[in-house]
Symmetry: C2
Subunit: 195 residues, 2 copies
């Protein structure tokens, strides 16, 4: 295997594509679920149009004020990292910004995740550890799987597990708009990296 | 909230603690499951002793040759990032080293993950996307939960889901040694960051 570096690459970087500054208004007013989801969908769409990743976007907000803390976009292929789904990027960058491994710190307001699609098994588990108190989804598992993306071992009991631990789940907010981005990706023949 | 930076921190770094070079022999011979698990347990133990994270270690190997590709250690508190369980760090750094978002690339040998404990819901999902063909675990879910760590929504059907997609699962390799590290962490009163 001559192509493997003889010493390990121990440093991994996660950053946003450069288009983020043009798409995201960091001081914008995000008052309603629809306004918050609209931002996540804008990110997913731009990720497809710029060919920087899969058709998935996410954002973390303070629940009460609507203050935008972080965004996320699927970055698996761009950064050669299978863990970098949109939700994961949003969690990591929110925690980096706040300097905390949990978004449910003792002196913190409640936070919520908006994701353009129902989370896969990895992201559902990560949601629990992130400290968000609410998850809001756009497109459904069926919408995602119709594109041949696998969602992994997520069951009705998985959602119940979160809800029993105080994480509220809201589904199908702007589902049609989120699905449009999936269709755009299909029409542009984007890669299915975990089919 | 005066303590939140006004602009987002979009860059996240993931690296190993400096003790890794003293604990890991990158050119060592890892021939058996026990030798591979022993390395993962050494990493978990050093992570506890050096107070760099939770009592969990992992490593990715080429299945046939036993070549060590990457290691991982729980880095949640050290790097303020709830996604950085040992398995996640091992996947990310393996993929960074190989320059591929999957460890099951067309021209690649098979890879396997060794983890000192059965994976949580996030890491089980991530295993599926990582491209490893086998997961080998030390301590059990019950061992981990006895320390008040939550493992999240993992069910027997979750493991079946992986196995049906060609990921082999082997459990309880050096379970007692892996459990000793959990007990060491408890005795040192390490933080339970997702209890």
């Amino acid at each position: 295997m001559p192509n493997i570096p003889t010493r390990p690459v121990s440093l991994v970087h996660v950053d946003y594509p450069s288009w983020v500054e043009g798409v995201v208004d960091w001081n914008g007013h995000y008052g309603t679920d629809e306004e918050k989801m609209h931002l996540a969908i804008s990110i997913a769409r731009q990720n497809v149009l710029a060919s920087t990743g899969g058709p998935f976007g996410a954002a973390v907000f303070e629940s009460e004020t609507g203050r935008l803390i972080s965004v996320g976009m699927n970055s698996v292929v761009r950064l050669n990292n299978s863990t970098l789904h949109a939700e994961m990027v949003a969690f990591m960058t929110a925690q980096a910004r706040l300097g905390s491994y949990t978004l449910a710190g003792a002196d913190m307001p409640a936070h919520e995740l908006f994701s353009t699609c129902e989370p896969c098994a990895m992201c559902l588990g990560a949601t629990l550890w992130s400290g968000v108190r609410r998850v809001v989804c756009g497109a459904t598992r069926e919408d995602v799987e119709s594109l041949q993306f696998d969602e992994g071992p997520v069951f009705p009991a998985s959602y119940r597990y979160l809800e029993e631990r105080g994480v509220q789940v809201t589904r199908s907010v702007l589902r049609e708009d989120a699905r449009d981005v999936l269709n755009l990706y299909r029409d542009m023949s984007g890669p299915i990296y975990n089919g």
